[in-house]
């Protein structure tokens, strides 16, 4: 292309003119469009659209195999009078509150313990993260076996080894024990995530602050209250948002251990939506239950947004 003119080629090195395709890809608007296309396409088709579709389904009487018609608020009106739905709302809120408090109390404690000078610290950290890595359903099955009515190892220890009780625990057979057992399993699974992320937050706090406080004669509690806690607050808020959202919409643990039983007492909104929607076939009603989770999630997200707005504490600090 460039070498056709002889005289031109003589005094300047033939410049390789980039092909139109290369030039097109170097044109910024087009490049941005192409770069955003796969991610935006996937998210719009499989996330935004279903989100809207779910809201629409909640106002229809769709069942499996039959596309429904608009029925207005009928699904929600039905749910308002449904005792099972309110029970699921109650248990979802209860489960989220208790599990979150438990996870953060124990997780913060573990993070503070790990923030000391310890031998084999990295090995310890790796071990502690294990419950979080292993698929939830698989560890839930292990808990199911631990909670077994006849062969529970916890019952064995309490009855046969320690002799503190005469009867075996009935972990999953009645309402409240089953609820608490699920919460315990959820806390068990959530501690590592909370501990490791808070540990990362703790490590960004400058030791000089503690030295200054020591010189001023502060007590251990005062150092925690006035240095550790306020500086940890932004990361705490973010981790807590994540934890609240994913605990509130939890599905796997409950589905694997109790499937909502005994007598539907441990249904969370997600498991109830699944039960009504997929095996029950009432997609419209299932969608209505799922949609009713959104207000809670919006609340949690706003909480996160305002916490994020205050994240100037972490200016280009390296991890760990």
């Amino acid at each position: 292309m460039a070498g056709t003119d002889v005289t031109y080629a003589q005094w300047t090195r033939p410049k390789i003119e980039p092909s139109w395709l290369v030039r097109l890809f170097d044109w910024k608007p087009f490049l941005i469009f192409m770069c955003m296309l796969p991610a935006a396409g996937l998210l719009l088709v499989f996330l935004t659209y279903p989100l809207g579709l779910g809201m629409w389904l909640a106002f229809t009487d769709t069942t499996i195999g039959r596309s429904g018609v608009w029925v207005g608020l009928e699904n929600f009106e039905y749910l308002m009078g449904d005792r099972l739905f309110w029970q699921a709302v109650f248990y979802s809120v209860f489960y989220t509150t208790v599990a979150t408090v438990g996870k953060f109390a124990l997780g913060l404690w573990l993070a503070l313990l790990l923030n000391n000078h310890l031998p084999f610290k990295s090995v310890l950290r790796a071990i502690i993260l294990l419950p979080w890595i292993v698929p939830t359903v698989l560890s839930a099955i292990a808990f199911w076996w631990i909670y077994d009515a006849q062969f529970s190892i916890i019952s064995y220890v309490f009855v046969d080894v320690l002799g503190w009780r005469t009867t075996y625990f009935d972990f999953l057979g009645s309402t409240w024990p089953a609820r608490w057992s699920l919460i315990a399993a959820n806390i068990w699974r959530g501690i590592p995530f909370v501990a490791i992320t808070l540990l990362a937050g703790l490590q960004t706090i400058s030791p000089s602050l503690y030295e200054a406080a020591l010189l001023d004669g502060s007590s251990g509690w005062q150092r925690f209250r006035y240095i550790t806690f306020p500086l940890l607050l932004p990361i705490l808020a973010i981790v807590m948002t994540f934890s609240i959202i994913f605990t509130f919409t939890d599905f796997q643990l409950v589905y694997a251990i109790t499937r909502g039983g005994p007598v539907n007492s441990t249904h969370l909104l997600a498991t109830l939506a699944f039960q009504r929607g997929i095996p029950g076939g009432n997609l419209g009603e299932g969608a209505a239950i799922a949609v009713s989770m959104i207000p809670f999630l919006v609340f949690a997200t706003l909480f996160s947004y305002f916490a994020l707005a205050r994240r100037k504490w972490q200016q280009g600090e390296a991890n760990d």
Binding site: F25, C35, L43, L110, L130, W145
Partner: protein, 300 residues
């Protein structure tokens, strides 16, 4: 409490003899740090130990706590694992899960790298809002999406096909990976790219030759994390897959191995153990990447 337990008592116990003080500090440290830590580790690991012990126990020991100590195995056996591997379609489930996880990870990684590069490096108008939108997308849980997605999957004719999972898993992988990679790209000096621009490199050449090689640790973090999350996924796979051979491991264990009222605990535990192993092995090689992606994603 943090980092200072050893120093705490120095002002108050300064009058005590040095040996006594040292002893005091050591006991204190053991009681306040090592004992609670040991309890934590024990509780966090016990279910795995129990899982492993159960899967190698013969049935006679499994259901008889009176004559055998339940915490130990008198006669280890591979019966449960044999049964699992040769009498069920367990290998098939592992292969399906692996395929789905690898494809979904690859798909999300490619789209996230491009998106993160566009948002962080190409810097168009409103790019920070796109970043925020992707962050918000991460907060949309699968529990709200599975019902409408099930109807979509059905309409696309993808019901009962692993392709449905490969296409839907990126809904939670892409936001996470993009968010992680944006943070990672931020840490690469922009001057390097400017130099390349002056030298006449095109944007795509810069991405391929400069940014990506420097972002390899970030890519590994995002990749292994996506793989773990895909391996972990449950609700989509439960809702979209019906035939036994296309199920993923977590769903198959819960729906195929439980037959009737009698639970085969040995086989169930063996299945859980084997299902956890690939992720655990993967994890043991890349612990630091996991930790950095976990903490990085939260901090960014």
């Amino acid at each position: 409490m943090t980092d200072t337990t050893a120093n705490t008592d120095q002002p108050s116990t300064a009058t005590v003899a040095p040996e006594a003080m040292a002893w005091d500090n050591r006991t204190r440290r053991v009681v306040t740090i090592y004992v609670p830590l040991a309890c934590f580790v024990f509780i966090l690991l016990f279910p795995f130990y129990w899982m492993a012990v159960t899967s190698f126990k013969p049935n006679a020991e499994l259901y008889d706590y009176k004559t055998y100590n339940p915490f130990w195995i008198a006669k280890p056996t591979f019966d449960h694992i044999n049964k699992l591997l040769f009498e069920t379609s367990y290998p098939r489930w592992i292969v399906t899960t692996m395929t789905v996880a690898v494809c979904a990870t690859f798909l999300s990684l490619v789209s996230s790298v491009l998106a993160a590069y566009a948002i962080q490096r190409l810097r168009f108008q409103g790019s920070q809002y796109v970043g925020l939108a992707i962050y918000l997308a991460y907060l949309v849980p699968p529990s709200i999406l599975f019902i409408p997605l099930a109807t979509m999957v059905y309409q696309f004719g993808l019901f009962d096909s692993p392709l449905a999972l490969i296409l839907t898993y990126p809904t939670f992988l892409v936001p996470f990976c993009t968010w992680l990679l944006i943070g990672y790209f931020k840490s690469i000096p922009y001057e390097l790219e400017e130099c390349a621009l002056i030298d006449g490199a095109t944007r795509l050449q810069i991405l391929r030759r400069i940014t990506l090689p420097l972002a390899v640790p970030g890519l590994i973090s995002a990749g292994i994390f996506s793989f773990t999350l895909s391996w972990n996924e449950f609700i989509y796979s439960l809702a979209f897959i019906q035939s036994s051979e296309n199920k993923t491991v977590p769903v198959a264990i819960l729906t195929e191995l439980i037959s009737g009222d009698v639970y085969q605990w040995g086989a169930l535990m063996a299945g859980s153990l084997l299902g956890s192993l690939p992720v655990a092995i993967f994890y043991s090689f890349f612990v630091d990447y996991y930790v950095s992606s976990l903490t990085g994603a939260v901090k960014e």
